[in-house]
Amino acid sequence: MNTPVRTARARTSRLRRISGTASVHAVLLGYTLIAVFPVFLVMMNSFKDRRGIFGEPLSLPHAGTFSLEGYATVLSEGSFATYFGNSLIVTVASLFLILFLGAAAAHALAEYRFRFNALLKIYMIVGIMVPIRLGTVAILKLMVDLNLVNTLLALILVYTAQGLPVAVFILTEFMRTLSRDIKDCARIDGLSEYRIFLEVVLPLIRPVLATVAVFSMIPIWNDLWFPLILASSDATKTVTLGVQQFIGQFTVNWGAVLAALSIAILPVLGLYALFSRQLIAGITSGAVKG
């Protein structure tokens, strides 16, 4: 009887596989370092004194260089608590409107047959291709007329308008895949169309709502353009604008600059740590359909 042997052919192919795996990791690891190192560098140096920042920028803070001076300056000079509050209000309120109104519109478009249904869907979706910023000139005029300049409401309305097209697009696509039976069943159970939406459809689309939420959120939280133009007063500044202007004033105080940056980065990273799975799932599923 023949015992199987490991032939030379098998050995080289195994070697090739191992070296292939190694180079895959080398590339990925290399790029991962490039992606996170700058962020890490800024955060690390924000915990040093001036000497530490300039003397040994690449080493971790230690007893000789550790300092919270930068943070002290930021907290005493800037009103970051207000900025955070503003960013939070604007982001949460816009998200709520985008998701709730977007879901309602998507439900109507996906569920009912009526005249101009297809046309209306296209109308709602072209906004994906046409950036809302191009209307800035008229948006500012409109906000002046409505007396909304330097209010958070101005930002909320604009961001809602900006976020609706993508939300309507993704949600309609998803709602088309919902079983018709379950809505019919609710109808037989005697629910009104409103309650079908609230009690049957919304719970069913919760996972997609979450992903639409996480990735409508990023551009809102990070936007510089509209806060600068519509709400640059001290009381309505968002974090992004606040940091931008704070750094503009404190360019020579590197400790404060680094601390301000870190303060702006941290909450984003924290949220990302919590929701990265959902975010990535969202981008992934959206892309498969799109």
């Binding site: 109507a108 209306l120 097209p165 892309a287």
Partner: protein
Amino acid sequence: MTQTATDSAAPAALRRRRKRAGRLHIVVFLAPAVLIYTIFSVYPLAESLRLSLYDGLEDGSAVWIGLGNYATLLFDPDWARQFWNAFSNNLVLFFVHMVVQNPLGLLLAALLSLAPRFGGAYRTLIFVPTLLSVVIVGFIWELILSPLWGVAETLLGAVGLAGLYQPWLGLESSALVTVSLISVWQYVGIPMMLIYAALIAIPDELIDAARVDGLSGFAIFWKVKLPLILPTLGIVAILTYIGNFTASFDLIYSIQGALGAPNFSTDVMGTLLFRTFFGQQLQLGDVHMGATVASMLFFIILVGVTIYLALVQRRLQRYEM
């Protein structure tokens, strides 16, 4: 049996009326979204297009001048210089993204789709810069590349290339490319994710079949996977194009200011629009010229989207998977 759930006490006529009240709910569901979108997105855009056809007078009223503002923008030496400079800078920006960001995104996605160990961790970390505000990214790189801090020089020194160091952001010759690369660093996560999603959506059976047919890993990528993800690459290209003309403002405004320093070498359509609309040191802001620049941007984007839809999308046939 007691009264059944469905035997409602309402007389038939009443029930009939309830049913007839009928289709109001469709309006209720649609109206809020359609109104907000129309008032704050569609109307302003239309209004901008309209404003671009007028000129402002001293007394605050406006007069219709047809395409006069466009003529000014394109042919008045002062305006034309700025416009073409910003436009060509945008093209450079777009070009850098197309040749660096998207191929890099494709490479990373292809490697990730092999499901290496820690793939999830790599993916999550590489996406981190994409989440950060452009403002923050801009400052981070300004600090790192700053000759004052010297971090970039030290790092280059570590690989024996200290001599190559230049204050890239400050030099007219290199500022635009440097800004572009910073933007690539920030946004490479998006093409990576989109392409990765498309790659993992390819059914395993298809890959297995190709393997059984004797294709090597590399050949499978070129001959099977790439054709299947072409529609996604098309989407990535058009997203890059749109983002390039509008989103580039934030980064350049935070690093180089509204003037596109040094000496307008990084001026793009976004900063030009901002300056035109709000004015700069000596020049007053001009609503009508601002609207004209915005409208030009709109047409430029429209041309891109049209080309994409007409040409690319029709050619890049989708395969049912």
